[in-house]
Every structure is written in C-alpha cells, then in structure tokens.
C-alpha cells in the first residue's frame, strides 16, 4: 500500500507507515503515527517525491494575478527579491522602515502566483495590508481576525489569529509572509509559523532579532522562515523618516461641578490607596490588588468606582471638547488626527463634528475608505481611540490632537514619530490637551520623560 501524507491541525501525518520503518528525522512516533510540525513540509518535499507517496498536503491554488501597482521597484528591492528567489523562496529580507517592505511582498506574491497568507502583528497593520493588496491586485482580499473572518486565496491575518487559521486552512497557502518577523520568537506567535506547511516563506523586518532574542524565545526565526537573504543597512535610509514637529500642551479647565466631583472622587480614591499603602506593598501590581480587595471590602469597592468615575470624567470633560472645538477651527485647512482616551468619546466627537471615526469596530473596507479619503483630502479629520498605532501608515497629517491619554510612553512616541510629517517646510504640531490640576498632568510628565529617553525620536 502506498504511503499517504496528510495535514492535520498544523502537523504532517504519515499514514500506512509502521513504527519500525525508516522515516526522515523531523517525524516522531506520536499516538500511533509518524507526525511532525507543518513547517518541515518544504524540506521534506524531495523525500516525499522520492517515496512516490500520496501527498494530500497542498491545497493551494494558482492565482491569476495582475499587478496594478505600476511603480517600478527600486534596484535594492529587485536585488532583495532575486536573493529570495535564489534561496528557494525561503528567508527574510531586512529593510529599514519606509523602504517599501510591503511593495517587496506584493512582488513576491506576484512571483509565486499561488495562494498566499500575510501575517501582521496587529489589526491596524492587517487593515493596512488589506488596503495595499486590494489596490495592488484589484481583487478580493480575505481578512481573518477576531472581527472579520473571510478566507480567500489571498488572505491577511494577525499573529494572534494565525494559529487558528493555519490549523484549519494552513495547507491552502503556498506562500506565507511574516510582517515584522522579529515577533516570531514569542511563544504563541511562533506556533503559527511552526504549523504552516507553506514551502515558500518570506520574513520582513527592519530589525532582525539578535542571537539572544532568538534563544530567549522558543523558536529561531531562521529555522521557521529561513535565513536572512537580503539586508539593507538601516542608516542608509533613515533620517528622513523622523518627524519634525513641535509639541504644545493645552490645559483645559474643569467646570465647577466637574471640579467638585473630581475632588471628591480623587480624595476617596487616593485616600484608600494611601491609607492602605497599596503602592508600597504591591508595587506595579497595586491596581490588581485594589480590584481583588474590591470584591469583599466596601471601601476598596468605593475607591475603585471613584477611580473609574475620574477616568471617565477626564476622558470627556467639557473643557477638552471646547479646546478641541477651538483647535479644529484654528486649523480649518489642515489635515488633523484626534486621539481620544476611549471609544465612547471618539464616537461622541464623530457625531458632534461629523468627522469619520476609526475604532476596533471599524471593518477593513470602511477603514480603507476613510484613510484613503483622508489622504485625498475629502476628509479633513479622523478621530480614533487608540487604534492608529505602531507602524501604521497614516497619510500626512499636519496636526495631531491628543485628548488626555493614559497610553504608555512607548505608544505615545510611536504616535508622534509616525503620524506627523513635515510638509512643505511647515512645522507639524502635536497638541496635548490635559485637564488642569488633575492626574492628567502627572501622566503627561511621565510621557515626556519616556520621550526624552529616545532623543532621536523627536527633533
């Protein structure tokens, strides 16, 4: 009887092969069958052919793609693609941010001409890939993540959702592209790469993980994706990517009644935290401890509720809306991005000023439309909670307005660095709108300190 190889939930399984038969190294005898991780498929192909076995693994389809992105690749992009081809289409391309990694990937998909899966680190980047692929190939593109699940021969997913997708549909993709491939050593993210049988594999990054970063995690990127096939020095293309802008802080006053309830809640909340020495006894975990106490200690429960009221008040206090109103009028002919502390406030602003909102509820197609219309200046402003983030190409914006914001220092700097670009020699501005005399001030201080630790990020 001829041997059969099939794909099962991210593994390759040999059927009709006894325990004492000789099989290649990656296979292990587990639960009555020879099994190995999906990613070995490419390297096992010569052996599979030599054995004349029934290979049920490949389910990918030829794609009749025409490339509508008519831009000519730069010489270094062609060199990178050729190097990847020469390495049997297995390996990583290291290019600095802004050097057109997505463009390289689009050409790689076109060269392979078979079903392909792109794995992006976060949903924002998934949406961005979706938009780029739709434009490049003028065809339907699948998206697979928590909010939308539609699998097509060209599909984009996140590392988070990739495991489920690959366990079920891994054999339907001949090419798998790992965006920001330096994330792979993370345990649950590497699992997806481990399970995919795609023989063609492409990693993209600006910062290939160092030796220690790879051994800290459970998987080596070279093993799962292939070696670095092309690398361009970061210094060569950096510089122009840095933002030129100034930061301006605007203090909004609380109304009398807001001030009164803020003061009362603040006293209640801080009183408890201080009198119970939570910060000293529990360090960074003090908030979790407060939550634990709040299920049986009435005072702790009151303190936690007071904290929630404070955050809600500061996120949407009237003074901030007033400042926003003024800033929107002041910059009436410029492209503006507004960042809010929560979804509710983002939608409130959208309805109040009739400007598009992007939240985690916004589907890929509408998000693509909003960003493109913003770029084409049909939309003047976008309001978003915190979904425009690291690595996302937001079209040129001259003005950013951050309403409060408890986001961490890193997130803040990422926003600053990417969002604002100097246009036609005019300086970009970031407004930080905070409530005067509240905990907002302390947060802004902390953010600034984080920012100064990275002097190059801000000129």
């Amino acid at each position: 009887m001829s041997k059969t190889l099939f794909f099962q939930g991210g593994t390759l399984v040999l059927d009709d092969t006894g325990q004492h038969e000789a099989v290649p190294a990656p296979f292990q005898w587990v639960k009555g069958r020879w099994r190995c991780e999906g990613y070995h498929y490419g390297s096992l192909l010569p052996w599979i052919r030599q054995q004349h076995m029934r290979d049920l693994v490949p389910r990918w389809k030829p794609l009749a793609l025409s490339l509508h992105d008519k831009r000519e690749p730069h010489a270094y992009q062609l060199a990178a693609l050729d190097a990847w081809d020469a390495a049997s289409r297995r390996g990583s391309i290291v290019l600095p941010t802004g050097a057109g990694k997505t463009f390289v990937a689009i050409h790689a998909i076109s060269r392979v001409g078979r079903s392909a899966l792109v794995v992006a680190p976060i949903i924002d980047l998934l949406h961005q890939w979706y938009a780029r692929l739709v434009n490049a190939f003028q065809t339907d593109i699948g998206v697979y993540y928590g909010g939308e699940k539609n699998i097509l021969p060209l599909t984009v997913t996140t590392y988070h959702s990739a495991g489920d997708l690959i366990a079920e549909h891994g054999q339907e993709f001949k090419l798998i592209i790992f965006d920001e491939v330096h994330h792979l050593p993370a345990p649950s993210w590497g699992e997806a790469a481990l399970m995919a049988p795609a023989p063609a594999r492409l990693g993209l990054t600006a910062t290939y993980p160092g030796e220690h970063e790879q051994t800290n995690g459970r998987w080596r990127v070279d093993e799962l994706v292939g070696p670095i096939v092309y690398s361009q020095r970061i210094e060569d293309l950096l510089g122009e990517q840095l933002a030129y802008y100034r930061t301006q802080r605007v203090r909004a006053n609380l109304t009398e009644s807001e001030r009164a309830s803020y003061a009362a809640d603040h006293a209640l909340y801080m009183g408890y935290v201080r009198s119970h020495n939570l910060q000293r006894s529990h360090g960074a975990g003090w908030l979790r401890e407060l939550m634990r106490l709040s299920t049986f200690d009435r005072e702790a429960r009151s303190a936690l509720l007071a904290r929630q009221r404070i955050l809600r008040l500061l996120a949407g206090c009237q003074g901030k809306f007033q400042v926003l109103d003024e800033l929107l009028r002041e910059h009436s002919d410029e492209q503006i991005l507004i960042f809010t502390e929560n979804n509710a406030v983002a939608y409130q602003i959208a309805a109040r000023h009739l400007i598009p909102v992007i939240s985690h509820e916004t589907k890929s197609a509408e998000r693509k439309h909003i960003l493109e219309a913003f770029q084409a200046r049909q939309y003047r402003a976008i309001v978003t909670s915190r979904v425009l983030n690291e690595g996302v190409d937001v079209p040129e914006a001259k003005v950013a307005i951050v309403l409060g914001g408890t986001a961490g220092a890193r997130e803040y700097i990422q926003r600053l660095g990417r969002v604002l670009r100097k246009v036609e020699n005019r300086e970009a501005v970031l407004y930080e709108v905070i409530a005067r005399g509240t905990i907002d001030e302390g947060k802004a201080q902390r953010r600034r300190r984080g920012q100064e630790e990275m002097p190059n990020a801000h000129r």
């Binding site: 366990a167 649950s188 699992e191 709040s294 299920t295 509720l305 309805a351 009739l354 509820e361 402003a381």
Partner: protein, 433 residues
C-alpha cells in the same frame, strides 16, 4: 463565554492545584439576584445592547458582588439575540455623506457657514430621510446599537446559577493544555463531541470504561500550548452526560506562573446543557431498526438489537457501529452492524480505512449500492460486506448474521430452559436461520 476578568476573581489556588469557587445553587441570596437579572433582561427587550449595559451597571451600583452579577449577566446576554436595527439607508452611506462636510460646529463662523444642524438637515433631505432618522442611523451598525429581540431561553434563577457555574468551569478549561479523563458508562455522546470539536485523543480500555488523554495535533511539538483550550471548554458539557467520570486538567491561568491541576469528577453538581443525542442519526438507520423490530423483534427472534453501544478503539479514533446484535441466550455472541448510506466521498474513505484498521471479524457492513464506491474498496477488510440496491433487506441481513455468528463463535448451543420459556420465539428464529 465568560471573560478572564469575570473568572479569575472566582479562582483559588495553591502551588499545584486550582479550584473554583462555584456559587451555592441553593443560596437564596443568589436566587434573588439571578431572578432580578433575568427580569432586568426581559425588561430590555426592544432596547439596545448599550441600554442593557447601562441598566446592568445601574443595577450593580456599588455592590461587592459585581463580578458575579456581571458574570450572570454575561451568561444571559450570550444566550440572547441582539439584532442590528433596520435602517432605510445603510449607516455606511449616511456616514460617507455626512463626514464629507466635517468638521462642522454648532455655531457659525467665517469659515464654517453651515452649522451642524443645517448639514444634517440637508443630508437628510438628499437621502429622503428625516433629520432624526439620519441621526439614529449614523452609527446604527455599532454592536452597542443592536436591539435585544429575543431574551433567550426561559431561564429560572436555578437554571441561570447552574449555567453560570458550568461557564466558570469551562472558563478554567480555556487555559488548559491537556485533559486526562477516565470515563465509564453512556459515553456515546462523548465520542461524538470529541469529533465535533476536533480534539485529538488517545484512548485505552480500562477495567471499567476508558482512559483518554486529550490535546491537539501540535501539542506534542510545543510546550504546553493553550491553543485547544476553547475546544476543551466547548467539549466539557459532553463529559457531564457520562455516568461516571473523572477529569484532571493541566491549566495555565493568568493568576499563576506554574501549571496547575484542576480536577473534577461525576460527584460534581454541574449540569450539562447539551442534549443527549436522539436514538437515530439517519432515516436509513431508523427504518432498519423499525423493520427489525417488526420482523425479528421482541419474542420473534433470539437477537436483541442495540443501538451504538459498542466502541471499537482504534488508537487516535474510535468506530461506533450503528447497531449491535446480541444473542439473548449467550451475550458473548455479538455481531456488529454498520450501515453505509449516502455520504460524502471523504467520509466513505475514512470509513473504509477505519473498517480495515479495526480487523474486526464480527462486523457486518451493509452498503447501499448506489454509492459511488469501487467494488474492491472493502477488499482488504476482515469484515463481511453485503451490497443492497436501495436499502438493506432485513431478512437477508439476518441470514448473513446467523452465518457469521456460526463462523465466528461456532454453532449455537440450545438451552432447554429458555426453550421452554420461549417456545414460539425459538421456533421462529430457527426457521429463519
């Protein structure tokens, strides 16, 4: 499905084991809360999800039981149906239209000659809607705007508390990397659900029942993945359908750095909401059983027809033949019957593989001839195959059964005692064999 913030406050743990503080289902205080929440949800029929959330937070207020209350409410709203409101014009279209004017303001100035209200008014007119309709439809496709159209099953407070406890238990299994189960009695549904949730198992027969180890395909190659936790959780109520069982799960909850063991067994008061499966999967099977009953059932024959009671363990899978015929006078004489009706080709391929792997001499396959099955598909099997043009003819089947039983177990030994008790039955069956 309960979220981690609703589960972790109910967990208790040592350095090796995890337990869950389930609600006391007899406690009248919980009954009252459950009843009030059920009423609260019913009052919200026709209102939006956002309105339900607000009503819930108002009900909870500053109660210390907020984690339980939110958990009970989550169970209720998960089982309820929220439907997007109907709008004359799609919200996407309305947004595109309105947002092309923004930013607008309430008050007029030099650069903004149209106020917010005027812009909405104009757009509404262009779309043939009223201003209020436009405002209502603007974000009508947000989840918080969906309308509660069906409050779900008719919960009693006791039902809700039981389901909440079950959901807490399932919640812990989200973090499981492996399950070990010992089970005895009424496990037909167990196998069915294991397959349904695509869990990988390895079963061994024990003195009583079976021992199963459950994980997923990639588990042997990675360290303690919780990738299959959701499937374990989904499967868990099936275990409660069994008579006697014991579960040990290796779990990795966020509250602990170490892997912990969570144990549960059939002494638990948890109740399954899964239905026990009905007796028949297909018309072909029920027809066969009916015809057997009419012609050979009761006192008319010496065979007892039992539905799906035998499990053939085939390592990482099982085969459960549709019927088992047991000789009433000698229960060691058993013939297994499997009907192969019209099915998808892949299903058939797997079935043939299983039959082969079973090396089973007392298995009789009844195959519908119209199937697009190569005649030699079953040639390597040790089982006997009879082909039928339309559906199995019971008389022919029973002839084959008698011949097969004689071949496998030797001639029947007549038992005088039973003969005198059931003379008519014996007489009939003899005539047919």
């Amino acid at each position: 499905m309960l979220t981690a913030d609703l589960i972790t406050p109910r967990l208790r743990w040592t350095s090796t084991t995890l337990t869950i503080e389930l609600l006391d289902e007899q406690d009248l205080r919980w009954h009252q809360i459950a009843g009030e929440l059920i009423a609260l949800l019913h009052n919200q029929v026709g209102c939006s999800f956002g309105s339900w959330t607000q009503a819930l937070e108002a009900y909870i207020g500053d109660s210390l039981n907020y984690v339980v209350m939110r958990g009970l409410a989550k169970v209720l709203s998960d089982a309820a149906t929220f439907t997007p409101p109907a709008t004359h014009v799609s919200p996407t279209v309305i947004r595109e239209r309105l947002f092309s004017y923004g930013p607008v303001f309430e008050a007029r100035d030099v650069f903004h000659t149209q106020t917010h209200s005027e812009v909405v008014q104009d757009a509404a007119a262009e779309l043939g809607l009223s201003k209020e309709e436009v405002e209502a439809a603007l974000f009508a496709d947000r989840p918080s705007h969906t309308i509660l159209t069906d409050a779900g099953p008719p919960w009693t407070p006791a039902d809700l508390l039981a389901r909440y406890n079950l959901e807490l238990t399932r919640g812990v299994l989200y973090w499981a990397s492996q399950l070990r189960i010992d089970v005895a009695g009424s496990y037909k549904d167990l196998w069915k659900y294991l397959k349904l949730f695509k869990l990988m198992f390895w079963a061994t027969q024990e003195a009583e029942g079976y021992h199963l180890e459950l994980d997923g395909p990639i588990s042997p190659f990675v360290h303690a993945t919780t990738r299959y936790g959701r499937a374990f959780a989904a499967f868990m109520p099936a275990l409660l359908l069994c008579e006697r069982w014991r579960l040990a799960a290796e779990v990795h909850p966020p509250v602990s750095f170490n892997a912990l063991t969570y144990r549960l067994d059939s002494s638990s008061t948890l109740r399954s909401h899964f239905k026990r499966s009905g007796p028949f999967d297909s018309r072909l099977e029920s027809d066969f059983a009916q015809e057997f009953e009419d012609k050979f059932g009761g006192k008319r024959g010496h065979w007892l027809l039992i539905r799906e009671s035998e499990v053939l363990l085939l390592g990482d899978t099982v085969m459960i033949p549709d019927f088992v015929l047991i000789d009433k006078q000698d229960e060691t004489r058993k013939i297994l019957i499997e009907l192969v009706g019209f099915w998808h080709p892949n299903y058939l391929k797997r079935k043939v593989e299983k039959v082969r792997a079973a090396h089973c001499q007392h298995l009789l396959l009844l195959v519908y001839e119209g199937l697009n099955l190569a005649p030699d598909a079953f040639q390597d099997t040790e089982s006997e195959v009879i082909f039928f043009p339309r559906k199995p003819v019971v008389r022919e089947v029973m002839e084959a059964v008698e011949a097969m039983a004689e071949r496998v177990y030797g001639p029947r030994v007549k038992r005088e005692k039973r003969e005198t008790k059931k003379p008519r039955a014996r007489g009939k069956s003899e005539k047919r064999s």
